[in-house]
């Protein structure tokens, strides 16, 4: 039965390129240019899928993206769930099966690549049917940058399937010539297989291009910014609602015409055509001429078009006026249609019935303009009585609609409105555009349509087989139930019934459901309006949206100049913002705890080295730099002498700790400040904010220099000796190089700025060299420190060492609700300065409370226990009935080599007044006792600082 339903000639398929594919285990043949749907129909396969809720057989209803029924799961070349068979191109090796309701995501990794392209144009034309092509031609000839995007594999839109003529020749000739001319324009980009699925603010449109399984990227997302947009998105044919309107073999009339003309496929042998308007007659004629027996044209109108009637009479096709199809028979395929005379509009139908045997029922309830993109861009729509559907009605975007989307259905009018829209768009974009000549087309006079929502007299009075949304299996009965439950607007009914929420976003069911609701409510369709149209117009995979941003490129990985060394030494890394920082350097066989204890011990007893290049650095210059820093830090920086360094806390105006770091005065009018690794960008933005908007009188410039410097912390009692060895020119004595001072000089032959600062309580130096020399100096220091057992250490050891000294980490021990006083750092808050950021807030009643959460130390009674960070602190050993009063939580917790036990920092209500008390922390299912301490656990006297 291979291609039994394929016509001997005609169509736009490539008969020289047969392709073999597999549908549900059947080996079938189609041709290049076929969709899966057309190839299935050519092989007589009508039943494709099973409906999602009721398990009813479903076939192919449409020939494009509006298909509500024929969903398939593609298994090869790559598993893809839920694709309409009408949009899948057949190719060799395609393997697909009909969906039993729901699709299935692939379990293996997708080997394909996906990417993104940003582009700009003067005129974006969406849709390459007659209107879109005419628009593109007018615009392109002006020299404007034009993009034409169309979802189909080739341009032409309705002209591909209608078999009509333009200028006395096949319309497809005009399509070919127009496309060829457009392709010649250097500033025109043609994007077939590209669906514009989203229309956002300021003429930003996003499209998905299917580039093919063998392309360098399988799908590409286009992010387009257009000066002007022409929406030539066409219209979708509307089905009709009657009993059993969902059987395989029931097809939109225009789609059937497309299958005959474009794909040379007969969708059946014996057809009934049921219509409310003229357009289905063309389908009847084309199908008849292709060899389909048209048993009856059933027209809901009392008076039918004399033009079409005469064409039918010539062919012996019988027309039943004032008649409707009220129900159907058949299981896997329609076998008969049941006709009933409808009587005049508004009257009850008579009961005259006739059963007509057929294997195909074409339906046309009119046309719904595809206003989706127009509406996404917040354009309004109005109900057009003549076509019984919603059309665009004004937009704030630089956009215009043309062609069928405006409710114009005759090809000639579509061409003209397109050419005008293209000219107007190009002119609006500043180009001297002329109207492109449009080809002559002949069209019959159009007789008014009858708007029919639920066909009167349909077989089942309860409406349970009268489908409004086939994709959702939602029926007239569901709509009635929604209205009976009190819902009287389309948005509510949509949510109650799920109409319009399937993969097809209600392309065929949207206007229909509004009509049915209006009928049930007894109001006008125009009064109800539409539901909100949202992106995407057709489904888009997450892989396409992610594009290149997956795997290693998911987010930038920031590395320091010494990164490769850390990798070579087997460091494990911790993510700090986007930075990769060495976490710890395990020796073979070491777990994290062992490695960190070893690193801590090495630093406290000998010498260790850490890469601290990630700390943010900002150069502050200008005659008012000192005054500026006095305003942004809680302590006084203007009194700092050149050559000295001070630790500083920054608060936001609400008095909460925002960041911290060191301030180095490098010259009278120049400072270098450091920030936390994760906070650098925010601190710079915060400082610029105040400088540019409130303190505009201050003459200060800020420059981020974070990556100019590679920074090495050399820490431990032996650090002075190591530095002396590699930097013989430096005076490293305690007297010559005091704590919190800096010097410039050669370190390992590189000009460096060396600072004596410590974040561990140990004697320590921080060596800054330009990034380019970071690795060199690091390695020289490593080699020089070898006799002293120098040990590289990571962030975990740094955290333990600073916690032993009670130094908080902003962002770990603080969370935006902690003041300097809460941290016990009142010493860093100036009482002399008139003002600084946060000062006023310290006297707000809430900030001045004495029972705020304070940073304290905690020692678990079980010295082997390391409390989990985030653990709650409670008063009593028994939790009792909820709500259990919470006193605070653990912010940092480690095992200490020097203490020989676990210890923690925590914020606890009134914590400083509880020092010595025993509190409890629920760990697992039991509260464990902990002792509240001062937050400084080690070397309280600070004796180790000077080595």
């Amino acid at each position: 039965m291979s291609n039994e339903f394929r016509l001997a000639d005609g169509g736009r398929i490539d008969r020289d390129r047969p392709v073999r594919f597999d549908f549900e285990g059947q080996q079938l043949q189609g041709y290049a240019g076929d969709t899966l749907a057309s190839a299935l129909l050519a092989n007589g396969v009508h039943r494709v899928a099973t409906s999602n809720k009721y398990g009813r057989p479903r076939g192919i209803m449409a020939a494009g993206a509006e298909e509500p029924n024929a969903l398939v799961q593609v298994e090869a070349p790559f598993p893809e769930p839920m694709l309409p068979a009408t949009t899948v191109e057949v190719r060799d090796g395609l393997q697909a099966s009909g969906l039993p309701g729901k699709g299935r995501l692939a379990t293996e990794e997708d080997p394909a690549r996906y990417d993104t392209m940003h582009t700009h144009c003067d005129v974006l034309v969406v849709g390459a049917g007659p209107a879109g092509l005419a628009a593109a031609l007018s615009a392109a000839r002006s020299g404007a940058r034009v993009i034409v995007a169309d979802a189909d594999t080739e341009f032409g839109g309705s002209l591909l399937g209608s078999g009509q003529t333009l200028d006395g020749r096949a319309a497809t000739d005009w399509v070919r010539r127009t496309t060829a001319e457009l392709a010649e324009h250097p500033e025109v980009r043609l994007l077939p297989r590209t669906t514009v699925f989203g229309y956002y603010e300021d003429n930003y449109l996003v499209a998905l291009e299917h580039r093919g399984d063998d392309a360098s990227s399988r799908q590409r997302i286009w992010r387009m910014r257009a000066r002007e947009v022409v929406l030539a998105t066409g219209a979708h044919e509307r089905p009709l609602v009657f009993s059993g309107n969902d059987r395989p073999g029931i097809m939109l009339a225009g789609s059937a015409r497309t299958y005959v003309n474009r794909y040379a496929v007969l969708p059946g042998r014996r057809a009934v055509v049921f219509t409310t308007n003229d357009s289905a007659y063309a389908a009847a004629i084309d199908l008849h001429d292709a060899g389909v027996e048209i048993v009856a044209v059933v027209d809901a109108r009392e008076v039918v078009s004399t033009y079409w009637a005469s064409l039918c009479v010539e062919r012996g096709i019988r027309i039943h006026a004032s008649t409707g199809v009220v129900s159907t028979s058949g299981t896997d395929r329609i076998t008969s249609a049941h006709l009933s005379s409808l009587g005049p509009e508004g009257n009850h139908p008579t009961s005259v019935r006739q059963v007509v045997t057929c294997d195909l029922l074409l339906v046309s309830g009119g046309w719904n303009p595809a206003v989706h993109l127009h509406s996404q861009a917040r354009g309004s729509v109005r109900f057009a009585e003549d076509i019984g559907a919603f059309v665009p009605d004004g937009t704030d975007q630089a956009a215009r609609s043309a062609g069928a989307v405006t409710g114009v259905l005759a090809t000639g009018k579509c061409l003209t409105s397109g050419a005008e829209a293209g000219r107007d768009a190009a002119r609006a974009a500043g180009f001297d555009a002329e109207l492109a000549r449009v080809p002559d087309s002949k069209h019959a006079p159009i007789l008014a349509a009858r708007h029919l929502w639920v066909v009167p007299g349909s077989g089942d009075s309860d409406g349970t087989t009268q489908f409004v949304d086939l994709a959702r299996d939602a029926t007239v009965a569901d709509v009635r139930r929604a209205v009976a439950a009190g819902m009287d607007n389309v948005e509510h009914v949509k949510r109650y019934t799920t109409i319009g929420t399937a993969h097809d976003q209600g392309k065929t069911s949207g206007t229909l459901s509004t009509g049915v609701i209006a009928e049930v409510l007894g109001v006008g369709v125009g009064e109800l309006g539409t539901t909100t149209f949202r992106a995407p117009y057709t489904p888009v995979t997450f892989a396409a949206l992610a594009g290149r941003e997956r795997g290693d490129l998911y987010d930038p990985v920031r590395v320091t100049a010494m990164h490769d060394w850390h990798v070579e030494q087997g460091a494990l890394f911790e993510n700090v913002g986007q930075w990769k920082r060495p976490w710890y350097y395990p020796h073979s066989g070491e777990d994290m705890e062992t490695a960190v204890l070893r690193e801590c011990y090495a630093v406290r007893s000998g010498v260790g080295m850490q890469d601290v290049s990630t700390l943010g650095k900002i150069d502050v210059q200008g005659p008012d730099a000192a005054e500026f820093l006095d305003l942004v830090y809680t302590n006084k920086m203007s009194t700092l002498k050149v050559g000295r360094i001070r630790y500083g806390l920054m608060c936001t105006a609400d008095g909460m700790v925002f960041d911290d770091g060191t301030v180095t005065r490098t010259a009278e009018h120049r400072y270098l400040i450091s920030t936390t690794s994760g906070g650098a960008a925010n601190v710079l933005a915060h400082l610029e904010d105040w400088l540019q908007t409130e303190w505009t009188h201050l003459r200060v410039h800020l420059t981020s220099v974070t990556e100019h410097w590679a920074t090495i912390a050399l820490v431990g009692p032996e650090s002075r000796q190591v530095l002396a060895d590699v930097a013989p020119e430096l005076d490293v004595d305690n007297d010559g190089f005091g704590f919190m001072t800096w010097q410039e000089g050669n370190v390992a032959g590189v000009h460096a700025r060396v600072c004596r600062i410590s974040f561990s309580g140990e004697l320590a130096f921080e060596i800054n060299v330009p990034w380019w020399y970071g690795r060199e100096v690091w390695e020289v220091l490593m080699a020089g420190g070898r006799p002293y057992g120098i040990t590289p250490y990571g962030t975990e050891t740094m955290h333990v060492l600073r916690a032993e000294k009670g130094f908080p980490i902003v962002g770990q021990d603080t969370d935006g609700t902690i003041t300097p006083h809460d941290l016990g750092m009142s010493w860093a808050v100036s009482k002399k300065k008139d003002d600084f950021l946060g000062k006023r807030s310290f006297s707000r009643p809430d900030t001045a409370r004495t029972d705020r959460k304070h940073l304290v130390g905690l020692l678990p009674e079980d010295t082997n226990l390391v409390l989990p960070e985030g653990a709650q602190i409670v008063e009593q050993p028994e939790l009792g009935e909820p709500p259990v009063p919470m006193l605070g939580h653990v912010t940092s917790s480690y095992r200490s080599a020097v203490l020989g036990s676990g210890f923690a920092l925590a914020v606890v209500k009134g914590g400083r007044d509880r020092v010595g008390e025993t509190l409890y922390s629920p760990v697992g299912d039991r509260p464990v006792p902990v002792t509240v301490t001062e937050p400084v656990f080690y070397d309280k006297e600070g004796a180790r600082r000077d080595g």
Partner: protein
């Protein structure tokens, strides 16, 4: 002591970048160690004029303007902010000249030579490659030669400079810590030109 060894942020990427170049289509390479000095001064002040003179050309005062002055390239970064880019080793000289020209007037001069590295992307495919991650309109009608912009390329901030001589040619100035990420991204995005399968 031997001369210290300097390593640019993409020193280990030379071969990778070379391999992702396509003859006659696309060339990606690091231009390491260029001197870079940030200059801040009130553009309307006499000091700004003196700074321009000292550099051998006026400071560009239009958004995104680039001025070439001998072997120096001066980029407009903001209404009172410029980046002077020059050959390796020129940083000290530029700083001294600008500082002298400021002559005590309020301004700022900061050596940022190692803060960013420079990637050059050259060839007929350069624009398409960049537009895979850059949302700016890089069409010659919108972004001419000797224009610059601070923007995003993929997820990294960059200063983008159009330097066309014969073929389209761009500089990407990227923070040193982001350089490898950006290089990896460029190599990945250039894959289709290497395999020859891509449409422009």
């Amino acid at each position: 002591m031997a001369e210290p060894y300097a390593e640019s942020p993409l020193a280990t990427y030379t071969d990778v970048l070379e391999r992702s170049s396509v003859r006659g289509q696309l060339r990606i390479a690091e231009e390491p160690f260029l001197a870079q000095v940030t200059v801040r001064v009130d553009p309307k002040s006499p000091a700004a004029e003196r700074v321009g003179t000292a550099l051998g050309g006026m400071l560009p005062n239009q958004s995104g303007e680039v001025v070439l002055a001998g072997d120096l390239t001066v980029l407009w970064l903001g209404p009172d902010e410029w980046l002077v880019v020059g050959p390796e080793g020129r940083d000290r000289d530029v700083q001294e000249r600008v500082t002298a020209a400021l002559d005590g007037e309020h301004g700022a001069v900061v050596d940022v030579s190692a803060n960013r590295t420079v990637l050059s992307v050259t060839g007929p495919r350069a624009r398409d490659l960049l537009n895979k991650g850059c949302a700016l309109d890089l069409h010659p009608r919108a972004f001419e030669s000797n224009r610059c912009a601070q923007t995003m390329l993929a997820r990294a901030g960059v200063i983008l400079v159009r330097r066309d001589a014969e073929a389209p040619s761009f500089w990407l100035l990227v923070r040193s810590s982001f350089a490898r990420y950006l290089a990896d991204w460029l190599v990945d995005a250039a894959e289709e030109y290497r395999s020859g399968g891509g449409e422009p």
